[in-house]
Symmetry: C2
């Protein structure tokens, strides 16, 4: 097992509605926390990547690389990477590539979404889909994922009530996890009944099937793995970094119930790490909608096609059960500050592998993050290890 | 001299007003031309970076990485990098980093700006500046560069008429170069009188001091330098790739008449290549405004501070004179499809080093590109060599 990078510092803001903070303040908070956690000086940072999706259309602000380096008072190479809601995941991938020439790299992700009305956010988010073939015709992301949910019900023969129960159980579990995490946007539990009866957003998806609109930021300090022990006693190693792409529009896919980009990235990542999916002790998967968590379980190989619901019904995906999924609360209940989400997953899994998590998975050795852009046009999968075998 | 990468394929669209083509069509044209030029198959591409600045606010389209890979029918890692008008330059930097793990990488840049009204484009472009401290108060990019021009006149004691003549001579030269380039947006000459008397945009900048609003795309196929000869007889080597940042807002800079980011990136690049600025035979610099070309000449070290005007007066910067600058026509006359500009500079310099340029510089061994984001928040400098010494 070969490490690609070591995580030596993590920083995160609370996800939620930060009406008193702009992009710059959120980014500064996460970056400075990550630096403090790493114990290094800002002068040691040799490159910065910033993940962000919507600052252009929601804040009129591009060029976040310049802001990110200015926050630290340095003049290093610093630029933004974007792949819609997978921006954070691909930023980590880009940062790992930069370790070709650099020793220490900062990766941050930020999104500021709550200062504008919901219609504007919905339009901005559709930038992740196909503008000509989807957005122009009125499709929204809840609608696209609702199409997937309907296709899934049909393809695997689920009765409506039964399927409703499965989706709700995902939401209930993620809210339960978030209830222990003070950084979560919704740190409170919901009942199965609440989830079942919530208002419909796009059939069959109801309110608690959907991740919220969030502000937030997260940051990681990465270094060459061989330098890690110089900076801290408990580095977490990135042992696989995989990104794959698929068609932008849902209509052009081979399947509506499986994301090829996830399957390709997961295979690549597991090959890089030289382990099997069964070796992973804790997952943060991209549950922008509850149906996305169900499909992710199958695309990652946690369950066979059409069979993930069984694990959910048996409550096997709670943090203290056999296959812990989204112990942070997931996008669903921790929040989904889109550009920050992929970085937040890495931050939360680093906490798991350091034994510092709020829903701590016992004896976790390997963790996997899964970050999706759009309806599956991009997927980034990373694997993290507590130690190198 | 160590090569970081080899350019084995180039592709570019005409820059201008493409009313019959969207982002996807422009990107496809450039990418497919680059592939054809390289002679490799799309299946050989292992990663893609797409440079783009404004597709979110001008076309409602993000997630261009997915589009770029879909164009080629492949599923490789593909994502967008952005640093305002320096997006192209930083995309090349990111692509070079990816050669850590990959053999062959595609870098493309695209911008589609002419489908909306000028006010909307002006607002979108201000995303490159500081939204809170500049855009909010009504500053536009012509205004920011006009501030620099005024500061320059004052700092170096230029009389208004004399300075007007110098700026105009830059425009006349770049139009002369563009007149030979069929891919240029304005392939026609202008007279000194026309430039001197054109309407004022932001004093002292007049119409012909400003680069246009453009559609366009450009692409490069890069490979590990040691593989280059396998694919072609005339690879061009990238021997330095440097990016530096500075404050986002002009008001926070150490100087209004010099870009620290350019100075830092240029020094870094020349150190990487192990050569002096005098060894460079041909330049493509970021002349978003004529004053920017003047300042770039000094920040790159072509002329001492306050002295670049002398070279311009003496017409030393024509392609067939001693220090050829912007033989493509520059941003000014070739056009400035912002996300594509940094890639277009590399395409044009590759043509120079292959002896295929329209304004061919004789016996050029080394070329340098200089790409700026905003008013200097980012600068990317690359050095290219015809052969490795």
């Amino acid at each position: 097992m070969k490490a690609l990078a070591a995580i030596i510092g993590i920083g995160i803001t609370k996800f939620g509605e930060h009406w008193n903070k702009g992009i710059k303040e959120l980014l500064a908070e996460a970056q400075l926390k990550a630096l403090e956690d790493s114990g290094i000086s800002e002068k040691d940072i040799q490159q910065i990547y910033v993940a962000n999706m919507c600052a252009d259309s929601l804040s009129g602000q591009l060029h976040l690389g310049s802001i990110a380096s200015q926050i630290l008072g340095i003049n290093v190479p610093s630029y933004r990477v974007e792949a819609a809601c997978a921006s954070g995941g691909v930023a980590i991938n880009a940062a790992i590539n930069a370790l070709r020439h650099k020793d220490i790299v900062l990766v941050s992700g930020v999104e500021k979404m709550t200062d504008v009305d919901t219609a504007k956010v919905t339009t901005a988010l559709m930038g992740a889909g196909n503008e000509e073939w989807e957005e122009f015709h009125g499709a929204t992301f809840p609608a696209l994922y609702a199409l997937m949910a309907n296709a899934y019900m049909h393809e695997f023969g689920f009765a409506e009530e039964k399927f409703r129960e499965i989706l709700s159980k995902i939401a209930v579990k993620n809210h339960k996890h978030a209830s222990k995490n003070p950084f979560a946007q919704f740190p409170r539990e919901i009942t199965l009944q609440q989830a079942n009866n919530a208002s419909i957003v796009a059939y069959p998806l109801r309110l608690f099937d959907c991740s919220p609109i969030s502000d937030g930021a997260a940051a990681l300090v990465l270094c060459k793995p061989e330098l890690a022990k110089k900076f801290c006693d408990n580095p977490v190693y990135v042992v696989a970094s995989a990104v794959a792409t698929d068609t932008l529009a849902l209509a052009e896919r081979e399947s509506l119930t499986s994301l090829k980009a996830t399957r390709l990235a997961a295979n690549d990542a597991l090959n890089q790490a030289g382990i099997s999916i069964k070796d992973i002790n804790v997952f943060e998967v991209h549950d922008c909608f509850t149906i996305a968590e169900l499909i992710a379980m199958e695309d990652l190989g946690i369950a066979e096609r059409g069979k993930a619901s069984k694990l959910i019904e048996e409550e096997q995906t709670y943090y203290d059960a056999s296959i812990p999924i989204n112990p942070s609360g997931g996008l669903k209940a921790f929040g989904h500050a889109v550009g920050a989400t992929g970085i937040k997953q890495a931050v939360e899994l680093t906490k798991q592998l350091r034994n510092e998590a709020y829903c701590q998975v016992e004896n976790a050795e390997f963790a996997l993050s899964h970050n999706v852009g759009g309806s599956g046009g991009t997927a980034a999968v990373h694997i993290y290890a507590r130690r190198l075998l």
